[in-house]
Point group: C2
Chain length 374, copies 2
Amino acid sequence: MLHILFVLYAISHKHCSSGEIPTMNGNKSFEPSCPLPSSDKKTVQLAHGGGGRLMQELIQDIFVRAFHNPLLAPMHDGATWPVEKGTLAFTTDSYVVRPLFFPGGDIGSLAVHGTINDLAMCGAKPLYLSAGFILEEGLSLDVLQQVVNSMAKAAQAAGVSIVTGDTKVVDRGKGDGIFINTAGVGLVPSGVRIAPTLIQPGDAILVSGDLGSHGVAVLSVREGLTFAGNVESDSAPLHEVVGDLMGSGVDLHCMRDLTRGGLASALNELATAAKVGMSIDESAVPVLEPVRGACELLGLDPLYVANEGRFVAMVPESQAETALAVMRRHAVSSKAARIGVVTGRHAPPVILQTVLGTHRILDLLSGEQLPRIC
Amino acid sequence: MLHILFVLYAISHKHCSSGEIPTMNGNKSFEPSCPLPSSDKKTVQLAHGGGGRLMQELIQDIFVRAFHNPLLAPMHDGATWPVEKGTLAFTTDSYVVRPLFFPGGDIGSLAVHGTINDLAMCGAKPLYLSAGFILEEGLSLDVLQQVVNSMAKAAQAAGVSIVTGDTKVVDRGKGDGIFINTAGVGLVPSGVRIAPTLIQPGDAILVSGDLGSHGVAVLSVREGLTFAGNVESDSAPLHEVVGDLMGSGVDLHCMRDLTRGGLASALNELATAAKVGMSIDESAVPVLEPVRGACELLGLDPLYVANEGRFVAMVPESQAETALAVMRRHAVSSKAARIGVVTGRHAPPVILQTVLGTHRILDLLSGEQLPRIC
C-alpha cells in the first residue's frame, strides 16, 4: 500500500507542473493527472482535450465560431446529409508542415487545399471536409485561432464546409504545435472516370503550372534563407479548373496533384500503375527563376520539390491544346504547359530529355529532399 | 555567399545524423536534408514520409498488404464508389492514446472502433474508413506492423473497409510513436433520425454496459499499476447492437458513445443541447468491482472515466424494457441498464441520486482526469 501511494504521489507530481495535489469531488487527494486546469488562458492545456468544460469552450469559441454551418450545428458525433444516386469520392491527408506559417499560406489553408485537391484528382466536386486537430500542450491559442481562421477562409473560398471534427491534446514535447488531418467527401459527376489505368501510349502529358514554389517557400522560412525574388507557396484549390476541364469535353485519362516528391514521383507512380513509359522534355517544364536559382543553390531538383497547387494531366494528343486553353483560363493554372508524352512500357519508366540534349532517368527518390513540407 | 554556405552546411549536418553530406543527381554537394535513407531497415525514417521509394515500399509492404480491398487497390488520391439515394454520415477522430498497447486493445483497434461508434451514434451503418498515420522517426516497424494488423482485424470483424489513407513522418521528439486519424462514412437507413433535440422529458435513459474499464485498463499499464482482477478495455464496435435497436421498432430519440469525459460529460452535452434536465440513479449505473476499486484508490469517479464500447440511449419510457432486451442480446451490451429519466429543464442539468440517498450535481469537469486516454 505504501508502495502504491508512493507511485500515485509520483504520478501526481509528474503531470502537475504546479506541484499541487488537487482534489476532486471530495473523494481522494491523489490524482493521476491534473483535474483542474491552470489559470493560463492563453495556451492549450491538456484539459482542452479532456472532454470537459474547457474542451467545450475551445470547440465553441474557436472551431464552431470559425466553421459554423448547418451540418456542424447539431454538434452530434458526425454530420449527416441527403445524397442522390451517384458516385462518391473519399480521401484523407494529415498535415505536419513546419513551420506553421510560410509565404503564401499556412498549415490551415494547406489542410483545406490539399484534401480538396485529392478529391479533384478523383474527378470529384468537393463537398464536405472533416478536421482533426492534434494540439501540443502549451500551443498559443492565438496561433490556433489564426490557423483555424485560415482554414475557414480557405474552405469558404473553395465552397466547401467543414462539417465534423475532433480535438486531441498531447503533452508538451510529444507533438509539434499543431498537426491537422482533413478527410473529404466529394461527388463524382455521372460518366466521369479518372484512373491511372486509363493512361495510353500517345497521351500528351500536361502540367498545370510552374513547379517547386511551395517547397522553396517553406524551406526559406524554415531555415531563415532569403532568395532573390519573393517565392510564395503555390498552395491553392484545383477543383475549379478540374471541373472546367471535365466540362469542356476533354477526355481526361488521369490526373495527379504534385505534392511530396514532386513531378518526378507522381509520374513514376502513374507510369508504373498504368504500365507505360513517359518521356519528359526538361526545357518545357515551367519553373520560376527565383525557384530555379534557390534550387540550384540548395542542390535541389525542382522536379522533385513539393507543390500544393499543381497537377499533371494525361489527355489524348488531339485534345492537348484544348485542355491547355481551358487550364490557362484559370489563374491557378495560367502557366499550364505540355511537357511530354506517354510511350510504350520501358524500365525505368520515366525518361527526361535534358536541356543539354541528353537523356536522364527520372527515378523515384530513395530518400527525402525536404521533410515535413506538407 | 560564405554565410549561406555555412548555413547550408549547418542545415545539412542538423538533419543528417550520419554526418555525411550526400550528393544527389550530381548537382551540388550541399543538401538541406538526407536524400539517402540510412541502412536501418527496422525503424521509421523521415524518408518514409517523403513521397519516394521508401514511402512506396512502406505503403505496399505494410498498409496495402493489411488493408487490401477493391476500393483501395487503384492507389489513386482517393477512393470512389457508387451510392444510392439516401442519407450519408461522416465523422472523424484522431487517436493519441498512450501507451499504444493496453489490456483489451491497442491504438489500432481503438481507431477503428471509435470511428465506427461515432457513425453508429448517428444511426448510420459504417461503410468505409480512411486512415491517416503520423509516425515519429525511429518508431519500430514491427510496432507499426502490429498496430496496422490490429486495425485490419478490427475493420474486418466489423465489416468495414479502410479505403484511403495517408502517412506522414515527423522528426524524433516531435511526435510520440504513432498518432492515427480515422474518418468514416456510413449510410443512415431511410426514416432514421437521431438527434439531441429529439430527447423528451419522460424519456428513459439507458446505458449499454458497465463503465470505466477502458480508462482504468489504459491507466494501469501506463503507470505500471496492478489491481485485483484484470481490467480490460471495453473497446468494441457498437454498430451491430445499434442496428438491431433501430430495426426493433424502438423509437430511439438519441444516442451518444461515452468516450472522453465518460457518462457525466455525455449527459451534460445532451441535456444542454436538448434543453432538458436529467436525473440519474447512481446505484443503477453498472461498474465492475475491480474498476470501482481502482477508481476509489485513484480518486477517480467512474462516471467521468472514458469508455470505448459503451453508449447511452434515450427512448420513450414505454419502450425502455424492449430496448434493454435488444441490447442484452449482444455481448457488447449484455449488462445494459436503465439508469435514469429525462426531466424538465433545470440548471445545472444533470442530477445524481447518490447511493447515500443524497443529490449531487453531475457537472462537466473543468479539467481532465486522464490525458491521452483515446
